[in-house]
């Protein structure tokens, strides 16, 4: 059997590959003082990859290759766009950070680009093998990047913890996938969807589906598979933490969405209650833990676990209630897009503030706004947005989430909505605490002299701020993503 390769369809991936190779080659050639060129190339390559993506979006045609194993449709394009833009922002954040601490630059960008490539592949993959390889390429480089501050024991520890739990989850995921294959003889999503319909009572399938959920649950850091997240976030270099909490998590969600909705729609009675449980646990446990955090990055780590719980809510609600999954699909993707923007912004602020305060502790941020009002405003914008306060983007994410729950209806759903509501209030408390510390507490300790953040970091902040505010006022910017997701969920 021969297969046609649609080069336009995989052009973004090819551009990223070319960028990776260029970065590696440049790193070999360039003398140390000029190594920052690798960063420039990486940033440019990521931006360039968006060009064919735009073509494909306007083209609008669904391109399917390799027996439907690799599909470029609206859903894939939206997520590829998200991955590329988020990666672009992370590169901007990394630029100065990596350079100033004398880390290996060329390798850093190469590994990060590898991870981006993995996420691009994943967004298009429609069979278990491609999905598995994609997800491995996303996480593999991250295990090492988490430990990139080689001399720092905390960074070592982050890398180690992330890695061990990562391979444990990979093993469990693979075990589940092997059973899926064994039970059906299929690995493509469409084949699985047909073969599994009506098999919900089969214990082996229950086991397989739950194992797969556990594997993805690690990637999205859902409770109780989240333990690595706070430690890895704290220890890893901050841009990597941002990448972990946005791209890597989004990749996990994409995989989960695709497998559950495309491959296993017929056995929602298995995965929906499981996701219900994970959602409820993630929101509650993570929010409670976040209340007591004093380190800003750990706080954001727990916050991102809790946000993952919120993102699971529409998923679980629609599945449990047996409602139309399109709305849930759309709500989760909208949430994902908005979350990516505001969370990246929050981490960019953390980088700037950490440079001023030379500390990751929240107490060191006291009264920061009085010394540096611009920074204070940024902190307020991103943390209030994370809390879901209108008119910043976060409100719309929560709104879409609650709306899809309302549509689903049903008793279990209402309980979940109630849990989500209570958690939204708890979350507000610790987000507000950060803003309060920055704006209202008395400044303590010495602050570093005001250093204007370098251009790339400012660009990253600018993009995220503009998007956070703009989406808040014009949610249609984000609903496009949801619409694309709805199309795929309806099978169109």
């Amino acid at each position: 059997m021969t297969f046609q390769i649609d080069y336009l369809a995989i052009a973004p991936e090819l551009i990223v590959v070319a960028t990776m190779v260029t970065v590696l080659a440049l790193d070999l050639i360039l003398p140390r003082p000029k190594k920052y060129w690798t960063a420039t190339v990486a940033v440019a390559g990521t931006a360039l990859a968006l060009v064919p993506l735009a073509f494909l979006v306007f083209d609008g045609e669904v391109r399917s290759m390799f027996d439907g194993s690799y599909v470029v449709d609206e859903f894939a394009l939206v997520l590829k766009g998200l991955f590329l833009v988020a990666a672009y922002i992370v590169f901007l954040m990394s630029h100065n950070y990596i350079e100033s601490e004398r880390y290996y630059q060329g390798e850093y960008y190469f590994l990060l680009l590898s991870s981006v490539l993995g996420s691009l592949v994943m967004a298009s993959s429609r069979d278990l093998i491609t999905l598995f390889i994609g997800i491995e390429l996303v996480t593999g480089p991250l295990y090492m990047l988490a430990g990139w501050r080689k001399g720092d024991v905390k960074s070592n520890e982050a890398s180690m913890k992330y890695f061990i739990l990562g391979i444990l989850s990979t093993a469990i995921l693979l075990y589940g996938m092997s059973f899926l294959y064994g039970l059906t003889g299929e690995i493509t999503f469409s084949g699985l969807a047909e073969a599994t319909a009506g098999m919900a009572d089969e214990p082996a399938l229950i086991l397989a589906v739950l194992f797969v959920i556990v594997g993805f649950g690690f990637k999205i850091s859902a409770v109780p598979f989240h333990f690595w997240a706070p430690d890895a976030y704290e220890g890893a270099p901050t841009p990597i933490t941002a990448y972990l909490s946005v791209n890597s998590k989004a990749a996990g969600f994409v995989a989960m969405l695709a497998v559950m909705y495309l491959a296993l729609p017929g056995v929602a009675e298995i995965w929906a209650p499981a996701l219900w449980l994970l959602a409820a646990l993630s929101m509650t446990i993570a929010n409670l833990a976040a209340l007591r955090q004093t380190n800003i990055v750990r706080l954001l780590a727990y916050s991102s676990v809790a946000q993952a719980g919120f993102m699971l809510v529409p998923f679980a609600a629609a599945g449990v209630a047996g409602a139309d999954i399109q709305e849930a699909f759309a709500a989760t993707v909208i949430y994902l897009v908005i979350y990516a923007v505001m969370n990246l912004g929050a981490f960019a602020v953390v980088i700037v503030a950490a440079r001023r305060t030379r500390s990751g502790e929240l107490s060191a941020w006291s009264g920061l706004a009085r010394v540096d009002p611009k920074l204070g405003v940024l902190v307020a914008i991103f943390f209030f947005s994370l809390a879901g306060i209108p008119p910043l983007a976060g409100w719309f994410a929560k709104f879409a989430m609650f709306r899809s729950v309302m549509i689903a209806g049903g008793a279990a759903t209402v309980v979940l909505a109630a849990i989500a509501t209570i958690n939204a209030v708890i979350a507000l408390y610790y987000y507000a605490k950060v803003v309060k510390t920055v704006w209202l507490d008395d400044p303590i300790g010495e602050l570093a002299d005001e250093v204007e953040p370098v251009g790339s970091l400012r660009l990253a902040l600018g993009i995220t701020v503009v998007l956070t505010v703009a989406i808040g006022f014009f949610p249609s910017l984000a609903t496009f993503a949801g619409d694309a997701a709805r199309v795929i969920a309806s099978g169109g």
Binding site: I129, F132, K150, S159, M160, I167, T170, Y181, G185
Partner: protein, 101 residues
């Protein structure tokens, strides 16, 4: 031969791997345990393939991918062990619990 005899054997190996992952203190030994688990997955895949006999030998292809990824993971894991060892003169994972709460 029964399919289930292979599956039960794989389940046992997987369980050994989990046990090893939970009790071993040395990170190299943890990696060995993980290899056991991935190997169990391979036995599953090959056994299923011998029953299903798909036209593209999907189970075997999958197993080859798993082996490849497992090799890559070992490389990553050992690099992390070396890095930690250089800083702390120990490869024991329970020495590393700086970050908590």
């Amino acid at each position: 031969m029964l399919l289930s005899q292979f599956l039960v054997l794989a389940a046992a190996l997987f369980a050994f791997g989990i046990y090893g992952l939970l009790v071993r203190r040395n990170m190299v030994l943890i990696l060995l345990s993980v290899e056991l688990m991935l190997n169990a997955v391979n036995i599953n895949l090959i056994a299923f393939e011998s029953v299903l006999v798909s036209s593209e030998a999907i189970g075997q292809v999958f197993a080859i991918f798993v082996i490849t990824v497992a090799a890559a993971e070992v490389g990553i894991g050992l690099a992390i062990v070396l890095m930690i060892f250089r800083n702390r003169k120990s490869a024991n994972v329970d020495d590393l619990s700086l970050m908590r709460w």
